[in-house]
């Protein structure tokens, strides 16, 4: 699965994207966040404040309890600050 990071998440993790094999027991955004945060100390630090992180599944904004089924691209990012 393609995982994307933006803004300070990208900087803290040191990657803008990565391809990750997701184990079958990881079925929700919330579980995926736990799984990714264990990948490296940088991931753990980046994901430390869960409430500050939003998620998009195949380019749609989704809540943490959303099922991953069939998703191709998951993006993690802080709240938007454009305009």
């Amino acid at each position: 699965m393609k995982i994307l990071y933006f803004a300070w998440l990208r900087e803290r993790i040191g990657l803008s994207e990565e391809d990750v094999d997701i184990p079958p027991e990881v079925t929700t955004i919330s579980a995926l966040t736990d799984f990714l945060s264990a990948r490296s100390p940088a991931h753990t630090r980046a994901f430390a404040d869960r409430r500050a992180i939003k998620t998009a599944l195949d380019q749609r904004f989704v809540p943490p309890d959303t099922l991953l089924e069939g998703a191709r691209e998951i993006a993690f990012f802080p709240p938007f600050t454009g305009g």
């Binding site: 994307l4 933006f6 803004a7 300070w8 998009a56 380019q59 904004f61 691209e73 993006a75 990012f77 802080p78 709240p79 938007f80 600050t81 454009g82 305009g83």
Partner: protein, 152 residues
Amino acid sequence: MTGRSMPRIVVTTEDIDVGAELAALEAGAGAVASFVGVVRGEADGRRLTSLILEHYPAMTEASLAEIAKTAANRWQLTGCTIIHRVGELTPGDRIVLAAAASAHRADALAATAFLIDWLKTDAPFWKRENFADGTSHWVSARDEDQEARNRW
């Protein structure tokens, strides 16, 4: 939208020609309203040297189109334009243009305010501020912006 079926949505590194964009909305309209966002020269009392606008390319235009569609469903619009810059900007540069055209001013003004309020919270852009003193930080989302969005 009655006059034109598609809103004009642009994400660009180039400057925005506000005059030309507003003139293009005049066709079939009785009122054109607009909002232009400009990079300020300071933030929190410190001098700003540049602003970096990051975005999520695969999601950005679709998010802006969705916001424009919601506006078109709520107000009688003859046209609607959202243009957002990305990349590095300096003080005085335009960041964003949101504009709406309608037969009468009330719909054009309300739709314009709606477009910019929703753009702030619902479109995937992030700002990083670089200061003259060498420091830099990612701008935090503001509760007021969420409240402004939720009033619609």
